[in-house]
């Protein structure tokens, strides 16, 4: 098989899968993208899922520079991991999302997902500055965890359910997976042809046991 997609093929592929990127921004912020609406979350309650989708949409937004964490499926990535490698973080997420929503109601009078973007950002800044109560151990630590996992869900190998359509790698300008790299491809302005592959598209590699093989 040809291991590497040309950039043109990649763009065609992205366009074919483009329904998600065409969803109106406001709908994304509420966790109502068509792909997401089709299947329930596996581990988070629908309320927690809605809050988390709204949070990741502000951490790595979909904006004039292109798609972000919502289109990459970062919330789905976290949800799936909460049934596996993040299993011991389930209560941290549940309690943290409740505390975040409570802070939104207390300071802006609405659930987090109902706030406008500026209000949502103000809530997240409060967390970052530890100016919000009800978190264990504290608000900033919770935001750090969510931010770290949102980054993983946006930029990791798509095998784990995030980085859908390689949105994250495209955002960074990462030229993609290659098993062999020549000297020219390491030049500072190499401009290598972009490849868009998961490691597990390559038959020589076994996928990690119980790690996102199937939902």
């Amino acid at each position: 098989m040809s291991a590497f997609l040309s950039r043109r093929e990649m763009l065609k592929r992205a366009a074919a899968a483009g329904a998600a990127t065409a969803v109106p921004h406001s709908a994304l912020a509420q966790g109502l993208s068509d792909a997401d609406a089709a299947e329930p979350f596996e581990n988070l309650t629908s309320l927690h899922a809605r809050i988390l989708e709204a949070v990741v949409a502000r951490l790595i937004p979909s904006d004039e520079n292109g798609p972000g964490a919502p289109e990459a499926g970062a919330a789905r990535f976290i949800d799936r991991a909460l049934g596996g490698v993040f299993a011991d973080l389930q209560s941290l997420y549940a309690a943290g999302l409740d505390a975040l929503d409570a802070h939104a109601r207390n300071t802006a009078g609405q659930p987090f997902a109902e706030l406008d973007e500026d209000q949502q950002d103000a809530v997240l800044v409060d967390l970052e500055r530890n100016a919000a109560d009800g978190f264990t151990p504290d608000a900033a630590s919770f935001l750090d965890v969510v931010l770290q996992h949102t980054v993983q869900g946006t930029f990791s190998d798509p095998h784990y359910g995030g980085n859908r359509d390689f949105i994250g790698w495209e955002m960074l300008g990462y030229p993609g997976l290659r098993l062999a790299v020549g000297p020219d491809e390491q030049a500072m302005d190499a401009g290598s042809q972009t490849t868009r592959l998961s490691a597990y598209d390559l038959p020589m590699f076994d996928s990690p046991d119980g790690e996102g093989d199937s939902p």
Partner: protein
């Protein structure tokens, strides 16, 4: 049920970087060797280029003994425990952490063996920091050179020599001690970015050179050259170009027919006989308890595990742990002062997406005693290292250099522009042992078997901080000379659990201050040897593995040459 196995000549506990080397001379000498390894065999199909799994999830496909006994750190004896890490810095598996390490394979410099005497000679004894327990090694570099040479060939190390029998070659490290011959392979290739940095170093009057690596720059022993794919940091090699002991020395030892490898063997203790000699190793495998009698036992775990196993192996003859009647097990502990790095932002693409941590440029001008310390307030120094290696999650987690917040649209715009324009550095600095930096067993935290985990009580001293600041100044100057528009100094933090942990079973002639003698055998238990960086009394300013491997080979050859004495 307990199964007592047939006796063997030598039981080696751990088939990683050092145990995997020591088994070769033993098996080639015709001894019956049993290698007890907590992990399993891994193969190229396990080594997917997957950043999330390799760098963030602690190798879930490998046996997890190490991750069930992660050491717990506290900065000092009256401080609470620091937050515990979620992943052990090392891994189990045949080959151990050499399966996924950076593979930088340095020899120590001559000064590292003679820190006390050289400092005293040049600057006066008062320059040894107060509270440090540092000693000279029992021998100098010249004693270890033949074993460095052997390991470089048997494992396979690429690099550029800087001093062959006293002849200096400016393409290599002009500060290295004399070596008998060139490396068996030329160095890994450079990149446009590493050449940019090398040129800047030359303009500063420094001496840049490519570092040594246990990675093939060309076909070696029928194994592939490196393909520079970018998943080498905490990643195994899909073409076996990284010369772990699993693809180099262990297969050769197995081919003799004299090495039996027991995988998933979880060692819990070492038994002694009535004469205080090590008599057997006890281990668990799939719910069964096994007793492996042996005439000689070699402990070859990582520093934390070596110390922990000795302290857990109590008996009437050794009530405070095996080989610990002088109270030295766990003492003289240090981790490399690897932190306090420098990050840099450039105004153009660097393209560090491919390569490997060992593909880089080193500066040794500010290491060890390679510069005059007369007017400085520290001894030792640091090796400066830049390299081509980054992956997407790491890039997206980049420092924003005060130019953008940590998230949101401004962050996204910043990262979209700069993800390929930043570089980090790896600054390894001399660390010294101190009276109050040590390892012991934790009073309450245990592994799932109920055995206490290793406790680390250690912190950096003002001396380490002054040294780190001086080295960071040099690194910032180097990046600026190369065109960086921003630099950020990273904090030194505390002396937490590390991939470069030294001491705890220090080697030396004095049994009152050292656990093992100059050959690596216990002062108190004559048929017990210890392999690994736990025997090293100084850190040097460079990665420990090659030195630990050279010492392991030397210990094994000493055993072969003195079998009737040591083996009883």
């Amino acid at each position: 049920m307990t199964v007592t196995l047939a006796a063997t000549d030598v039981a080696v506990i751990g088939l990683g970087g050092v145990g995997g080397v020591a088994v070769l001379p033993l098996a080639e000498a015709g001894m019956d060797v049993v290698g007890l390894e907590a992990g399993t065999w891994l193969s190229p199909s396990d080594f997917a280029p997957d950043e999330l799994r390799n760098n963030y999830r602690g190798w879930p496909q490998a046996a997890q003994k190490a991750n069930r006994e992660i050491p717990v750190h506290r900065p000092n004896a009256s401080a609470p425990d620091s937050p515990r890490g979620s992943v052990h810095p090392m891994m189990n598996g045949v080959g151990g952490t050499t399966l996924h390490y950076w593979a930088q394979s340095w020899r120590l410099n001559p000064w590292d063996f003679r820190v006390v005497s050289e400092t005293t000679r040049r600057y006066g004894a008062g320059r040894i920091p107060a509270g440090s327990t540092v000693e000279d090694w029992p021998f100098g570099l010249e004693e270890l050179e033949p074993w460095y040479d052997l390991v470089e060939r048997e494992v396979g190390v690429s690099g550029q020599a800087g001093n062959v029998n006293g002849t200096i070659d400016a393409r290599g490290n002009i500060f290295e001690g004399p070596r008998a011959r060139e490396y068996p392979m030329p160095p890994l290739r450079g990149t446009e970015f590493t050449e940019l940095m090398a040129g800047a170093a030359r303009r500063l009057g420094w001496n840049p050179f490519p570092g040594p690596a246990a990675i093939n720059s060309e076909t070696y022993d029928n194994r592939s050259p490196c393909l520079y794919h970018g998943f080498c940091s905490r990643g195994g090699c899909h073409v076996e170009a990284k010369n772990s002991t699993a693809v180099s020395t262990i297969p050769k030892a197995s081919a003799t027919g004299n090495l039996r490898i027991e995988t998933e063997a979880h060692v819990t203790g070492i038994a002694v006989d009535g004469e205080g000699r090590a008599s057997a190793v006890e281990y668990l495998n799939d719910g069964e308890t096994y007793i492996q009698p042996a005439r000689v036992v070699l402990i070859a775990g990582y520093t934390y595990e070596n110390v922990r196993l000795l302290l857990l192996s109590t008996s009437g003859a050794f009530p405070n742990g095996l080989s610990n009647n002088a109270g030295q097990v766990g003492r003289h502990y240090m981790t490399h002062n690897q932190r306090a790095g420098v990050l840099a932002l450039f105004p153009h693409e660097l393209n560090r997406w491919y390569g490997l941590p060992a593909q880089g440029i080193a500066i040794d001008d500010w290491a060890d005693d390679n510069f005059d310390h007369s007017d400085l307030d520290f001894i030792g120094g640091g090796n400066l290292w830049i390299y081509s290696d980054q992956r997407p999650i790491e890039a997206a987690s980049m420092n924003t250099f005060g130019r953008a917040p940590r998230w949101g649209s401004q962050w996204k715009a910043f990262v979209m522009q700069n993800a390929g324009r930043w570089a980090n550095s790896y600054l390894q600095k001399t660390t010294l042992p101190y009276e109050d930096n040590y390892l012991d067993l934790h009073s309450t935290i245990t592994d799932p078997l109920g055995l206490p985990v290793c406790r680390v009580t250690a912190d950096y001293k003002d001396h380490d901080r002054r040294l780190a600041s001086y080295i960071q100044d040099r690194m910032e100057a180097w990046f600026r000379e190369a065109g960086a528009i921003e630099t950020v100094r990273q904090p030194i933090g505390s002396m937490v659990v590390s991939t470069h942990a030294y001491g705890g079973t220090r080697m030396g002639d004095d049994p009152e201050t050292n656990v093992v003698d100059r050959y690596g055998f216990s002062h108190e238990v004559p048929n017990l040897g210890v392999l690994g960086a736990s025997v090293m009394g100084t850190s040097g300013a460079r990665n420990p593995t090659l030195t630990a491997q050279a010492l392991a080979w030397r210990t094994a050859e000493h055993l072969v040459a003195n079998w009737s004495t040591i083996g009883g």
